[in-house]
Symmetry: C2
Subunit: 314 residues, 2 copies
Amino acid sequence: MSQLILALDFGGTKFAAALTDNRDSWIGKELLPAPAPASAQADYAGMLAMARKLLAGRQAAAIGVSFGGPVDAARNTVILSHHVQGWEQVPLGAWLQRDLGAPAAIDNDANAGALGEYTYGAGQNCSSVFYITVSTGVGGGLVADGRVWHGADGMAGEIGHMQVDPAGPLCLCGKHGCVERLASGPYMAADARAQMTAGSALWELCAGDAAQITGQLVAAAANRGDEVAMRLIERSATALGRGIGNTANILNPQRFVVGGGVTKAGSRWWQVLQAAARATALPEITVDIAPAQLIDDAPLWGAVALARAAVTSN
Amino acid sequence: MSQLILALDFGGTKFAAALTDNRDSWIGKELLPAPAPASAQADYAGMLAMARKLLAGRQAAAIGVSFGGPVDAARNTVILSHHVQGWEQVPLGAWLQRDLGAPAAIDNDANAGALGEYTYGAGQNCSSVFYITVSTGVGGGLVADGRVWHGADGMAGEIGHMQVDPAGPLCLCGKHGCVERLASGPYMAADARAQMTAGSALWELCAGDAAQITGQLVAAAANRGDEVAMRLIERSATALGRGIGNTANILNPQRFVVGGGVTKAGSRWWQVLQAAARATALPEITVDIAPAQLIDDAPLWGAVALARAAVTSN
């Protein structure tokens, strides 16, 4: 436990690096907005500078990386970034080994978050955890017996694109009524813009400027009793709850851990979520849904777990 | 491979016992209608008599059991039977060890079928297989890296009760639009009874006696162009296809293996199934759906795999 572990998180809008030698606190932590203009080289250089500043000449025993995009975890290679050019087939693990002299293990942010909550957060002492993050999108990851379940194409955990209502609105993926289309912040905001009426709480909160509406603002309007906002919040929680219940029927994980900005929508969102999940899962199946504990640090702590596993297995 | 393995299948309507010393053929196989009047003692006595006849004085190296009801696989104990009294908490593994002098491993029929197809059938050479049987109900099981995924309550694999259409008809489980409600034979037959019109192909095939309608008859009527029947067959395949696509998004198994009476509905059913699954899974996810190979013998071959694993680990 006294080994120095470096954790790196390449997020969509911000980068984070942190250093630990234990299970619950950072020796140091650095944050950086995603570099602009965006390129893989700039991303890597920015992250490397943070890492070197944190290490201050010390040697990390291992490095863990959470990457906001598809990765080939077995090969510690990034497949691509949906936001930034140049990340196609980048052997990020090898780059870090070369530049920082330590073995590096990589996974995508949803899987890293799942592993973080499983190992150090709300999923501790569970044999299996299905983790879900609900913010600009809806992502998920499954950890069982200490290992991330990647699936045959490395695509497991995509609960955001489970279809829960074929009569629902069209998702960017081409299907109607995906969990993400109904539950995520930006989609709720878009629907609120289209449905709000002059003089409503939504209208007041955005001061008549629909472009200002966010998922957070929809939640605030719902808490003021705005009917459109309340309906959207309930629809979000119902969709995700059904997705959780269906996943419980298929996988029966010991616990679901749910985090992300939308989970701050308030107690009504959580109540509807729990009720919908319970109603969807078969009665014999335990439905245990816990809020995420590590919040924004879940991917970083998952990176720590990845790094520690790499040291153990090497 | 030259060890003598005894496989037992306690099905809902019939019992089977078989003996093998290899991977693809039976030395002997016995069948028995489920004993009447039904009791756990009568069930066990009937099965034991078949086993002793097959063994003819020889000693099995191990025994595998597929049981048509919930079991505690870790304890080789039946939890209950939904059809027959007296099976509550029966230590079936211990009974068989006592009476036949060999270690016995037990799982439920969906998991045994999954393990059978994975080990000896359509799932060979796959790292992970999700098996589905569609007949009077819709059951499923996941096998990964040679082991059945049971889930925290032993309830994993219940794809039949994934909700795919909240606006769909009411399922016995209390939800609307479960896969089983839309895809299984008896529900299709019930809907055909309610919807058929005099003079239609459905009407002719059942000779005006609605009680004669089965899932098979609905498939036959669909193949004759009966509109009600065609719609029900398409709805069945669409529902199961969506269930498979949603499961692919969550788990991304290497292959789905689908068996059971309803899969004999014809090529249209398979086409719609494949298309619905492909449309529901994200484009990056491989959707490989193969028909079951072992058909009625899948649970027996799964029992063989259970028995062989028990010998290896003991």
